[in-house]
Amino acid sequence: MEWNFLAVLRDFDLLILGLLNTLKVTGLALLFGVPLGLVLALSRLSTIRVLSGVAGFIVEFFRTTPPLVQLFWFFFALPILVDVRMTPLIAAVVTFSIQSSAFFAEIFRGGILSIDKGQWEGAKAIGMTYGQSLRRIILPQAVKRMIPAFMERSIELLKTTTLVSTVAYTDLMFQANELAQKTFRPLEVYTVVAVIYFVLIFVFSQASIWAEHRLAKSGEGTVR
């Protein structure tokens, strides 16, 4: 067995294209998933029973079903039910937005609940509305505490997006499969792809550690 990376390097632009598509799916899923997660968390924390019940069900459902099943459902099953044309990209973004929003919802909920009740009271006592209290007082403190869990979930999401290759979306994994078949060099191709994912995630987590330190330095130590 001899290592030969030449074939891989010659078609490296294919992998770059795949990488960009992977980042696109991940980025879009974050873009929609994070706000949706906040909405789900607030609904779940609401005193309105129906609202918290529905939100709770959505969160638990998407946390407990396999992401591959969800992806197939949105790609193959949903178009049968309603008249929508699903492209692999749309199916992937819909699936991973909702799926990660379920996890982000729990992170938001934990973060919000971890803030001392006195903070809500302090805000309320000066006349702030629920929305003002949340935006100005609770979330800025909660988000700081959420960063590690948030980053871990985002990395998890990036890894889970490899599933989109199964519905023929040209992400990094899909391109790797193509290239491996074309060049008969699976060893080199998948090694390179593993390294790309590693570098990507390593850089990402280093950046998050840096961000966390920066935030920790600005200001408070304790809740009071």
Binding site: D116, E121, A123, G127, M128, G219, G221, T222, R224
Partner: protein, 257 residues
């Protein structure tokens, strides 16, 4: 003197537990009222009903002549926006300060002015500095609360409330969480406020403060005002045995004069 706060037939229950069983109280502008009572007698609940941190189960509250809420079929209904406005007109200081730790002292005092009252930044800043000056903490304006002592935190909390130009101030055991040597500076600030004519309702166990600063002392017992009067008479010669026991409990270990 004119009436600033009126509480009529205030009732409050938590599920089956009736905590307040009909409180009537009229407070004149500039008055300092101290509320005494043993643990669980409903002191905090009463204070918190005044600015609707808790919703009264029954009864009416008037601030400066305005009835809070609307009466419908004999029941009071409240709109959240109206309650927010009311809370911005009443200052409240808590046992555990509840300062915003992610903001500097100055930002803490600015927050309500800018976000709730919509004051212009410059005006709010001048006001904030003036209030910090008033509680003797102007030089701490750019510190974060975590760097302050308990007494300083509590004075910042007082400044934060004062910056809203409240019509009434509520104090709920504001010295109970402090180390003994820090209690004095907070009580001194409160005394100064009282002398400047602020209307204050204070729940406290500091009988000395009640004696020297209050215009009136209420004794709350099992959800009703059992007795009330001028501090000099009520603290020395209470009418009821219940209050006498309470006062004895508080002065058991006093040093002789």
């Amino acid at each position: 003197m004119s009436e600033i706060l009126r509480i009529e037939n205030l009732h409050k229950s938590f599920d089956d537990l009736e905590v307040l069983k009909g409180i009537d109280l009229t407070v004149q502008s500039g008055e300092t009222v101290v509320i005494l009572g043993s643990s669980g007698s409903g002191k905090s609940t009463m204070l918190r009903c005044v600015n609707f941190m808790e919703s009264p189960t029954n009864g009416k509250i008037y601030l400066n002549g305005d009835l809070i809420g609307t009466e419908r079929n004999g029941k009071m209904t409240y709109k959240e926006a109206e309650l927010c406005t009311l809370r911005s007109r009443i200052g409240m200081v808590f046992q555990h300060f509840n300062l915003f730790p992610h903001m500097t002292v100055l930002e803490n005092v600015l927050e309500g002015q800018v976000i709730v009252l919509g004051r212009a930044k410059m005006e709010a800043r001048d006001k904030a500095m003036a209030q910090l000056e008033r509680v003797g903490l102007a030089e701490k304006a750019f510190e974060y609360p975590s760097r302050l002592s308990g007494g300083q935190k509590q004075r910042v909390a007082i400044a934060r409330a004062l910056a809203m130009d409240p019509e009434v101030m509520l104090f709920d055991e504001v010295t109970s969480a402090l180390d003994p040597e820090l209690v004095g500076e907070v009580l001194k600030t409160m005394r100064q406020l009282a002398e400047e004519g602020m209307t204050m309702l204070c729940v406290t166990h500091e009988l000395g403060f009640a004696y020297h600063v209050a215009n009136r002392v209420l004794f709350l017992n099992e959800g009703i005002i059992l007795e009330q009067g001028e501090p000099q008479s009520i603290l020395k010669n209470p009418d009821t045995n219940r209050m006498r026991e309470f006062l004895d409990g508080h002065s058991l270990f006093k040093l002789p004069d």
